[in-house]
């Protein structure tokens, strides 16, 4: 099995062409090791979302190289034939709002990605319930998303991001709608899950409360990243 983690080298993204061209990413370098949670912070318009979309294989970078585990997935074009399968099987997503599917109960929200990957329903649900147990929301397994609190919804969303055991999780402002206590709980869960499943997690955030918890932080400004050591404080 390939080693996990993600490495990005010289990633560029240009929108438009000619005089109206905008360089959103101007050569981003970053790497995240398996089991590590890093922060990606920067002001609005700095290129955070573009970087996240490039990593999530929903937009095409203009240049650079991306390596997932020991497989090059992008270098002068995508090297994987099916980006949908790449997103489904090897990249997990956690959004600012949980964006749970409102007409599926908690279990099926989490079980949906493995079902889409072809896992039998019973096995997918078993895997979902294991994760819900790990995230302490097993007791809400039959509830509909509208019946959950904000913190519970976010934990279910994290479970959905983890359920296919992807090597990378991209978390876009996962604590934005939560109060300090719940935000800290979510970061603790992400760290626990990163360690437990050897997952590399990139957390895009503006949240001052959680920034001190990262051991490594990437600052992005004008499409360029700068790495710095974080405080790596506890989660209390």
């Amino acid at each position: 099995m390939a080693t996990k983690g993600i490495r990005i080298e010289g990633l560029r993204k240009r929108y438009g062409s000619g005089d109206t061209a905008v360089d959103a990413l101007k050569g981003v370098d970053m790497h995240v090791e398996p089991g590590e949670v890093v922060g990606l912070i920067g002001p609005s318009g700095s290129g955070k979302s573009t970087l996240l979309k490039s990593l999530g294989a929903v937009i095409d970078p203009t240049a650079g190289r991306m390596t997932l585990g020991d497989e090059v997935i992008y270098e002068q074009g995508w090297k994987v034939p099916d980006l949908r399968a790449l997103r489904r099987d090897r990249i997990g997503f956690v959004f600012q709002a949980p964006y749970l599917i409102p007409f599926l109960d908690v279990t099926d929200n989490v079980a949906l990605p493995p079902m889409l990957a072809g896992l039998p329903n019973t096995e997918a649900r078993k895997r979902a319930q294991d994760l819900l147990t790990a995230l302490d929301v097993r007791h809400r397994a039959q509830a509909m998303p509208s019946q959950l609190s904000g913190g519970e919804q976010q934990r279910v969303a994290i479970a959905r991001g983890l359920v296919n055991r992807p090597p990378v999780i991209l978390a876009d402002e996962p604590t934005a709608p939560l109060d300090s206590q719940r935000a800290m709980a979510v970061i603790r869960i992400l760290n626990d899950m990163a360690r437990k499943y050897e997952t590399a997690i990139i957390v895009v955030t503006h949240d001052e409360k959680i920034i001190p918890t990262f051991k490594r932080i990437y600052h992005i400004r004008d499409g360029v990243t700068h790495e710095e050591a974080g405080e790596g404080r506890g989660f209390e």
Partner: protein, 401 residues
Amino acid sequence: MISLAGRDILHAWGKFVFTGVGLGLLIGVTLVMAGVYRGMVDDGKALLDNSGADLWVVQQDTLGPYAESSSLKDDLYRTILAMPGVARAANVTYLTMQVRQGERDVRAMVVGAAAGAPAGTPGTPPYLVAGRQFTRGHYEAVADMATGFKLGDTIRIRRNQYTVVGLTRRMVSSSGDPMVFIPLKDAQEAQFLKDNDAIWQSRRRTEANPAINRPGASGVLDAVLASQSSNNFVNAILVRLEPGADPDEVARTIYRWKRLTVYTRAQMEDILVGKLIATSARQIGMFLVILAVVSAAIVAFIIYTLTMDKIREIAVLKLIGTRNRTIAAMIMQQALALGAIGFAVGKITATFAAPLFPKYVLLVPQDSIAGFFAVMAICALASVVAIRMALRVDPAEAIGG
């Protein structure tokens, strides 16, 4: 894989059911419209069936007696009766008018038929549900149940009053008006009956004509006046053939010897369905097309709106790896479910509403089956717009910024 469409429908079943009920009422109207057309055709066929005729002998070069007026001398039936292959022949008149009963009047087709004729004579009611056939030559009537008349009721046709002595059922004109049968002589009189002033004026004019009122030839004037105040015409002669007789051959014989137009059952059916109700059928056809287009537009709008409400969910589904065909199937299944709900409601509505219509509405299973598939096809087609929109949703929309 779980059914995303089924889960979405169960989650928002109220919205689906109420939308389906609205659509169902529209489909119900469409089914009733089709039933109205079927009812018109069936009325036409009932008219032919109940006349008991194999051939219709009418005035030359007319489409009578139902689609055009036709006039024949009432003694012609005797010569037709003598022709080979003819078992029975009977005069008949048809006149659509308002028949009064007390303070109310009923639109009906007044049929003049031979009084006291043996059972099975063409033109007479083939069966009764109450009472008896009229046996007297005057002032007795047999009415269709749909007129609302009862046995013993006194009804008025022109100046004369008739007693209802029998009731029959499903005896209607091609336009669905119930029939009232009266003796032929009364019907002939009713067709051409003038008011007293008009008769008096007519006599005065005739008497003033020196060519007719000649001195020493008073018999001429009397004869002319008598012919003016009597009617010995009928609209058609209905012919029942002997068993094994070829209708076309007998028709050709009658035409050759009597120079009258003769229609067989098939030809008369063509006239009724192809000519008499053709315009109405086209009108109904136009309504059906409009209703189908409106239904399609409504389904398309509803499914489009429901899909628009799920744009973010669709983006998330695509981001986590859902295939386009899974999303398309979800939308199409919802459209088909909506159509199925709508059709069920429409069918129930049409079934219960049909008897309330003043004209006969005939709901046939073939129309329901065709309607079901048409609704499904319309719903599938209507979902295409929403599917196209859903497939264009960028999974990047699920990621902020």
